[in-house]
Symmetry: C2
């Protein structure tokens, strides 16, 4: 049997980026997944990106990941959300051909040197001297490696709910992965928790009355920084055409049906113990919580070119199937719609993330990394972002590199992981721009400028790619320099450009720069003072973070802490004061206390030595 450096378990969105990152860093990498045909399957929405999620896709792309290019190559339509607002919240989003996305992704993995794909279910870990040394599969194979990344998504003890019907499974069409969950608990002693998520019904095109719906076409745009020379229209998508989405609304009848049947929802009658996401609520949640609203918007999204199924974005539900039929038929345009697949909710095990480091290694098992939905997040992009970091760190560990940790001022991925490991999760975690303190730094348009160097330095991005960004950066900086020095009407060109009335073209006139570079300069000029302010905040935060917290600090016996702070600090064990300060329920006064405590402890150590 081959000797692997890194083994990834689970070929979802997290496992994909983890596998690619690891192999691209030169580690002999094995991906074990239950069904090769389901690599990169979109369990829910056939769409990538959106608010804050689009930022993450750009970040993954900037660091050499695949999600952006794969989305571009399978897009049915592209949209820049929030484009009427400030650049910090612009968010790219694409509707994809679900099957093309999957197939192309599978092939990317298969083609990648040093990456080996193997169909099997991982059942349990074998440990030796505090390290994980092997994973055992259903076929009795025992694969050894130096580091492992676990990316089981919604599959660990997955249980699907269709109203009162319960079926074991990771999602429809896939069996659950129960054994690995037992192994985490029993062999590795990890604490697991239970979360849930849901998906709406799919209906058949020929039964939809599109005339009653509002048509929404896409625009030109794309995710990847690496195909900048290719227009959206010229990307090779195997000839698939562009497709519109449609907008509809629920009616008073929808509200009535749901209100009358609410007691049948497993979320409301107690059959699901797990906690669902507040941010992707089911239609019964929405009707229940926003009782004053008469109608909710829904999007009808095509699932692909070779299917007549439409995804009903907005009516995720776990109500019984007969109620689902009534809900669908109550929506104007869907009076005669036929449900091809019913909506359902799925409950699954999560590795409680207080056991995890920012590198995504587990605190008690330093060569086992966790990424994706099993860390308590929800969403393909969140999963992929974690996968990239976990895969890089697994390969980094094998190569003897220090961990790769993105900071909160460097990437949404950093914000997300830091949130996960410092905040109690009580529902699936989803990214929002509001989760970031430094939104003007973390824009979707500058992910390459923020992250490509980091990725290149860590070995994730080849020099040919990094060079492009390096050259772009030089061009931008030189031009900014020039604009600051050249003056007209008593002000520098830079000052002119900082006015919202002006554009680069109006200030400079004709130039050789690409639209991309002009846009960067313009944003830098316009938002300079806000950006500067955020940078100062970052500095302050960094100074705080410079104070590492020794592992030996004992919160339980520290006087002056509230019980909540004491418990959370013991649970999360923050690595520095910055992280401690971000824990919900820990006050600035308590941070001061801890700081004093650390000083005292350090002095006592000196005396001992």
């Amino acid at each position: 049997m081959k000797n692997y450096d890194v083994i990834i378990i689970g070929g979802g969105h997290a496992g994909i980026e983890a596998s690619l990152a690891s192999a691209r860093m030169g580690a002999e990498t094995l991906l074990i997944t239950q069904n090769l045909d389901h690599i990169g399957q979109m369990s829910c929405n056939p769409a990538i990106g959106g608010i804050a999620k689009g930022h993450v896709v750009r970040e993954i792309d900037a660091m050499g990941g695949e999600m952006g290019q794969n989305t571009d190559a399978s897009a049915l339509q592209f949209k820049m959300l929030n484009s009427s607002r400030g650049p910090a919240v612009w968010s790219p989003r694409a509707q994809c051909d679900k099957v093309l996305y999957q197939r192309r992704m599978k092939q990317q993995l298969e083609k990648t040197p040093k990456l080996h794909t193997h169909q099997a279910e991982g059942l349990s870990f074998v440990t030796e001297k505090g390290k994980v040394i092997a994973v055992q599969t259903q076929f009795g194979d025992k694969f050894e490696a130096k580091a492992f990344v676990l990316c089981c998504g919604t599959f660990m003890r997955g249980l699907m709910h269709f109203g009162p019907q319960q079926l074991p499974g990771g999602r429809t069409g896939d069996t659950a992965a129960d054994a690995i969950s037992d192994s985490l608990k029993n062999d590795l002693g990890l604490e697991l928790m239970r979360l849930k998520t849901g998906t709406p019904p799919r209906v058949l095109a020929k039964t939809i009355d599109f005339d009653q719906l509002e048509r929404q076409d896409g625009e030109s745009g794309k995710f990847s920084y690496w195909t900048r020379d290719k227009a959206y229209e010229t990307i090779d998508r195997g000839g698939i055409p562009q497709m519109p989405c449609y907008i509809g609304r629920t009616s008073a009848e929808t509200k009535r049906v749901i209100t009358e049947n609410l007691h049948l929802s497993p979320m409301y009658n107690g059959s699901i113990d797990a906690i669902g996401t507040r941010y992707c609520p089911s239609i019964e949640d929405k009707i229940h919580r926003f009782a004053d609203k008469d109608s909710h918007q829904i999007f009808l999204e095509p699932e692909g070119v070779f299917t007549e199924e439409y995804y009903l974005n907005g009516i995720s539900t776990s109500l019984p199937v007969h109620v689902q039929n009534q809900i669908v038929h109550s929506i104007p345009g869907l009076e005669n719609a036929e449900i091809a697949r019913y909506a359902y909710a799925v409950e699954y095990d999560v590795v409680s993330p207080h056991q995890t480091l920012n590198s995504l290694a587990l605190k008690p098992w330093p060569n086992l990394f966790v990424a994706g939905q099993i860390n308590g997040t929800s969403g393909y992009e969140e999963a992929a972002g974690q996968g990239l970091i976990a895969g890089a760190n697994a390969a980094g560990l094998v190569a003897g590199k220090p961990p790769l940790v993105l900071e909160r001022d460097q990437a949404y991925i950093g914000v997300m992981i830091d949130d996960l490991v410092t905040k109690d999760i009580s529902e699936p975690y989803r990214l929002f721009t509001s989760r970031a303190e430094y939104r003007l730094l973390l824009r979707q348009d500058n992910a390459d400028r923020r992250l490509s160097k980091i990725a290149y330095d860590y070995g994730l991005l080849p020099y040919e790619k990094y060079k492009i960004i390096e050259e772009k950066e030089t061009l931008i900086n030189n031009e900014i320099e020039r604009l600051k020095n050249e003056r007209s009407h008593g002000k520098s060109l830079w000052e002119h450009l900082s006015s919202h009335k002006n554009t680069y073209d109006s200030v400079v006139g004709e130039s050789d720069f690409s639209e991309e570079i002009k846009e960067q300069i313009q944003i830098d000029a316009r938002y300079e003072c806000y950006i500067q302010r955020e940078k100062q905040q970052v500095e302050r935060q960094k100074r705080l973070a410079k104070n590492p917290i020794p592992e030996e600090i004992d919160y339980l016996n520290m006087t002056g802490l509230s019980n909540e702070a004491r418990n959370k600090l013991s649970r999360y064990r923050p690595v520095d004061l910055g992280q401690a300060a971000r824990i919900d329920g820990v006050t600035p006064a308590e941070i001061g206390l801890i700081q004093v405590h650390i000083k005292r402890w350090e002095e006592s150590q000196k005396i001992k030595a």
Copy 2:
């Protein structure tokens, strides 16, 4: 809930043609299948057609089915097998892009008017007064209809074997369907039996040394009669390119590995009770049975454009996975090959076909039809052919039409179904040209001339299509008439043409006829006397079949029959003397006996009346 005419359970190759046939005949048709994404999945080989199977695809196509066109639209390469031999055994075969085949087929169903696709597992049948009236699904839905077609493939109590490892499942990636099997036994009182089939491992392209293999390219050709104006090269396949296959051979080392490990095969150590197919044997079967052969040929077939997986045609096995690795590595060119998916065998329940009529209705349940692998066959084409007949008959029953039964002299599909219902099955049934008595009548090139009228008359084929064949037939007949009347050198042109030295062109010279028509005329002329002889045999057989056997005939008390004949006749209950004569173990003398017995019975009835 909608009122359906016909409900099909199972969206494999049988269920697909059944659904389409039923809906095209105007019946409101519901297809219930476990996973919509797996409609038309090729569980094994990514290829359609081959010896005798290619004939069936042509027959399906001639009758308005979809398999031929779908194959053409997803073909990676086409070949006419046996083209150096006589026209009776020419057999078209195409390698397909597995995923494209599936996706396109799914969409064909979704687009078909009156056909409704629904994702669910059918659990049990509800009966009333000797009729099936509804099927119940896992979601608690109870769908009613006037006729049902069951097409569960390898899924009923499916059990997969990877050496000693046993996993329940219909095939990898799909759960088994156990409940419906229980319902057949317990609710419907049917007799089930157990069969098995197997599939080889898939290996990754980047680990194959193609230089050690022999490359095989395809040729120009296609299945469908309905795209005759389109050249192979111009069929829309979404831009997928053509791909070669490769030929390799097992080595002495392969033989050694298998011989040493034979005791580990569940087929040899008794862990599989079911019976496998002699015609698609596993590699251990081949090594065991042909012990004198040093080496066996294998074909490496691409699984599609968007995958690097290759199918190892020829080494299907259920040996343990570590032995599979050794087998693969013993093949020159595969020394370093990595297995992405292991080979396995699957065992499943079959509805013993002696309970089935030639219409594919079940004798005790006249509105429940069965088609495909659950009738004991193996192969996509065999399944699809049955599906078409079962679907047509289900819709025909609802419309009050007499059953559509293809005779042994009309179609391979007829031969197959008649074999199934008259012969004891002890292994999965596969079609061969040798199974047909009238091979010169049942050619792959004349399926349209044989079957389009039958399909049109039954309502399966629209007039626009039938008209094309009608016109072709007229052209052929008029031309044959002319050739018979026109003379040169003392012989009619027809007589000249009957010589194997001549071709239509050499005899007639320039003409306006298409190659297709010229080929038909040439074959008709060359093989006229053989064709005539077969037609006479058909007539004799028909005279025998004119003697229907009354249902009341009691074989158990008929003197003069051998025990074997008595048992088989009671079991199969042939509908006429022709069918009785085809039952294995029933002699011509016994047929005479039965004939006398019938006469006597009829006279006794007359007296009674």
